[in-house]
Structure formats: C-alpha cells, structure tokens
C-alpha cells in the first residue's frame, strides 16, 4: 500500500492564511488521526487532499504526492460529518450511488446489475443493516444513517478513505460501536480521520497529530501503543487522553487570548 505525502501545503481564503508549509505523510495501510479545535483548518486540509478546494478566493500551494507515483484522484472515498444520504433514494440506492453516478447510461436502468446488488447486500450485511435495504433515510436513526454512509464508503472500495468527524453526530455508545465497526472494516486501507475527540483519535489512530495555531501547524505524531481499536480500559490510553485534552484546551485558550490582545490594540 502506497504512502501519501503532503508537501509544503498551504491554503488561504483571500488574506486569511489557514496553513502554510505543512508537511504530512499518511502511512499506507494505516490510520492517521488529526486532532484540532474547531475552526483551526482540519476540514480544509482534508478537503485539499480530496481535491475539493476550488473557488476564486482560495489560493493553494504545495502538492499531494502518492508513493506509487500515480495521481490520488479517483482513489479516495469520502465520508463527512453529515451522512449526506440522498433523501429521495432508499438505502440500497444510496449505497450504490457511486456506481450509478459513474454509469454512462442516459436514463436510470430499471435494475441494478446483479453483481453490484450482491456487493451492496454484502456491505449492508457487514454494517448490520441489511434488513433496512428498502427504507428511506428519513426512517432511520442517526446511527443507522451513519452505518449506511459507512456501507456506501465500503462499496466504493477505494484504497484511501478520508473521514471528517464521521461519528460526531451520534451518541457516545453508538459512536464506540461505529468506531469498532469502521476499524474492523477499513483495516489495510490508508485512512485519514479528522476529529475533535482525543479518545476517538487514540482508539483508532496509528499516528495521531494535533493541528493548532494560526496559520495552523502540526505537532509531532503520537503513536499510541497496542492494536486498534484500542479498548477503553487501557490505562496508558486514558493518560494520553488526559494529556491531549489538556493540550487541546491550552491551544484553544492561547488562540483566544491572542485574539483578545489584538482587539485591545
């Protein structure tokens, strides 16, 4: 599995420099977690890697390079905080939306190809909601909707998965379940997970970075011990969580006080 390197990456919205000269390597086949307070530019960084930053007022520098020399485009699956399920399509159609979006036919085929359908049923089975295949998203709970989103991500079957706080909107227990499930189903893929929850980062990440400051900078990687998904009764994990929470709080306070000083001047 290839590594992905972000070299001298920089991005600005007009005069607002979000980050510059940022270097980050995502180890192939491993989970990299990126922590940071809100508004620090985590999502922007993720969107840049996904090739979703375009617009007149956005200036980007640097490049994203894959270890095997091929372009990254077309090899990523995207999973965002909101499940982005299409409200008019049932679970089956939502899971297979990628296939239909790429199909060359002008009008919707009455039936999905059998192999696509079987593959969809398999991933729905894996995430445990195969019985909901014909339901509309509005009839599902928040946790079930994220399961569908996960199934849709699996269905894409890409080597790289970019996740933007995918479990932020569900309750604590469901979140743990979804973390375990994703960890189990997305092993051996290169995953970049963005989160503001240190515990989530420490449970799932092989490398955990903290993005802070303005323009944002990355801290050195934390490499939590043990196999993912790490269990919650691990003392070392809890200690690391405490440290990280402290650091997150302090970096937010620092930013707050800096803004404050600026106001006075």
């Amino acid at each position: 599995m290839f590594d992905i390197s972000l070299r001298n990456a920089g991005l600005a919205y007009g005069d607002n420099q979000i980050f510059r000269n940022l270097n980050l390597t995502l180890e192939g086949g491993r989970w990299t977690c990126l922590l940071g307070g809100s508004g620090v530019g985590k999502t922007t960084l993720l969107r840049m890697i996904a090739g979703l930053t375009s617009g007149r007022s956005i200036r980007t520098q640097g490049e994203v390079v894959c270890g095997d020399g091929l372009p990254l485009q077309g090899r990523i699956a995207w999973m965002s905080q909101e499940d982005s399920l299409l409200p008019w399509a049932d679970v089956m159609d939502n899971v297979t939306v990628g296939h239909r979006l790429r199909s060359r036919s002008w009008f919707r085929k009455k039936k999905l190809d059998t192999e696509v359908k079987e593959q969809a049923l398999t991933v729905l089975e894996q995430v445990g909601i195969v019985d909901k295949a014909c339901e509309l998203p509005q009839n599902l709970s928040g946790g079930q909707r994220q399961r569908v989103a996960l199934a849709r991500t699996l269905m894409e079957d890409r080597p790289v998965v970019l996740m933007d706080e995918p479990f932020a909107a569900v309750d604590a227990i469901t979140r743990l379940d979804l973390q375990d499930l994703s960890c189990q189903l997305l092993t051996d893929r290169t995953v970049l997970l963005i989160t503001h929850d240190p515990l989530e980062a420490l449970r799932l990440g092989h490398h955990v970075y903290h993005l802070r400051g303005k323009p944002a900078e990355l801290t050195d990687a934390i490499i939590p011990p043990g196999q993912t998904p790490r269990s919650l009764d691990n003392e070392k994990l809890m200690m690391l969580q405490g440290k990280l929470l402290d650091r997150l709080r302090h970096s937010e306070h620092d930013e707050g006080s800096r803004v404050h000083k600026g106001d006075i001047q």
Partner: protein
Amino acid sequence: MKDSLKPLLVFVGLLLFWQGVVAIFDVPSYIVPDPMSVFDRMVRDAPLLWEYTLVTLAEMVMGLVLGVVFGVLMALVLVYFTGLRPWLLPLLLITQAIPVFALAPVLMLWFGYGMASKVIMTVLIIFFPVATCCYDGLRHTHQGWLDLAHTMGAKPWAMLRMIRWPGALPALASGLRVAVVVAPIGAVVGEWVGSSAGLGYLMLQANARLWVDLMFAALTVLAFCSVGLYYLTDYLLRRLIPWQSKTAH
C-alpha cells in the same frame, strides 16, 4: 378534524357570510345578489358556463405546462451556462418589470383573439416564479452531496439527473404552487382585453348588461377552478416529492 374537510368548512362559512351580509344590510340584488339566485343562474346557464369554463381552464393548464417547461429550461441555462447569466438576468427582469396587463393589448394584436394570446399571457406570468425557484434550487444543492459525487467521479449529466435535479425539486415545488395561484390572472385578464369565449369574457358581457348574478356565477366557478387546481397540484407534489416534508418545511 380531517385537514381535507377544512377548506370545505371555509367555503360553507363564506356562503353564510355572503348570505348574512345581503340579508342584514338589505343590499340590492344589482349590487350583490344573494347566493341562492347566483346558484339558480348557475344551474340555468350550466351549459354556457361549462363551455366557457373549459376554455379558461384549457388556457390556464396550457399556460402552466408551457410556463413550467420554459421556466425549468431557463433555470438550467442560467445554472449551466454561467457566461450567459449576466445577459439573461436583465432580460428576465424586463419581462417582469413590464406589467403583463400593459402587454395584453400588444399580445392581442400579435396573436389574435383566440386562445394563443391568453396562453402566452399566462406563460409570461408564471414563467418567472418557476424559473427563479428552480434556479435557486439548482444553485443551492447541498454541499455534502456535491462533495460526495465529486469524489465518486460523477459525470456531469449523472450529477444533474441524480443529485442536483432531485435536490432542486422541493424549491421547484414552491415555485409551482405560486404559479398555479397566479395562472388564472393571465387567462382572465387576457380574456378581458379581447376574446370571444371564456369566463373572463362572460364576466365582461354580464357586467355590461347588469346581469350581476351571472357575473357572480362566473366568478364562483373561476374561484372553484383556481382552488381545485391548487389542491390538485399540492396533492400531486406531495405524492411525487415525499421527502420535502422533512427537508423543506
């Protein structure tokens, strides 16, 4: 109480109010006839009313269909041909800045006294709400869906057909609801300016001869047509876009 009964109750209430005003203030029948005599007139002139109702209804429906088609096409052009936008938007606004009533005589001159001029009036009136609503809906596709489709390598046509178009339907539906309500204006005003058939024509003729009961009969039928058309549209939109209750309201 069932929601479908409420409009009926409003109708009955209005009838009672009408009857009450006529009875209490002793309004002469050449100013406001009482509901019963209007009903009598309706029954007596039923064939005539029916014939003219069909004419006006046909004008409204044809205007609606054409107006929606043109409105949607205009919205698609505005969204996909960004270079044309600065040229088309002022044009669109000019068609609305000139009151359709002022255009009516010209339309009569160009398209004659038949149905065509009324249909065109209706199209002119409803084209704008449909185009703007559909344009808004297409422009404001939920960013999450666009990101997702983009990373999935969606083809532009598939993106429109499977993401942007269905995503714009709730907005288009509000445009359609407005369009259905204003469609009768186009048809009836068109008939007033010059025609030889239709409910508007009948009202004008009845008014000139002081057949106030016939005028009210035509007005009542017209109101029924408009209200019926609105509820029919609303029902169809609810059936066709069941998810809008969660997203748009």
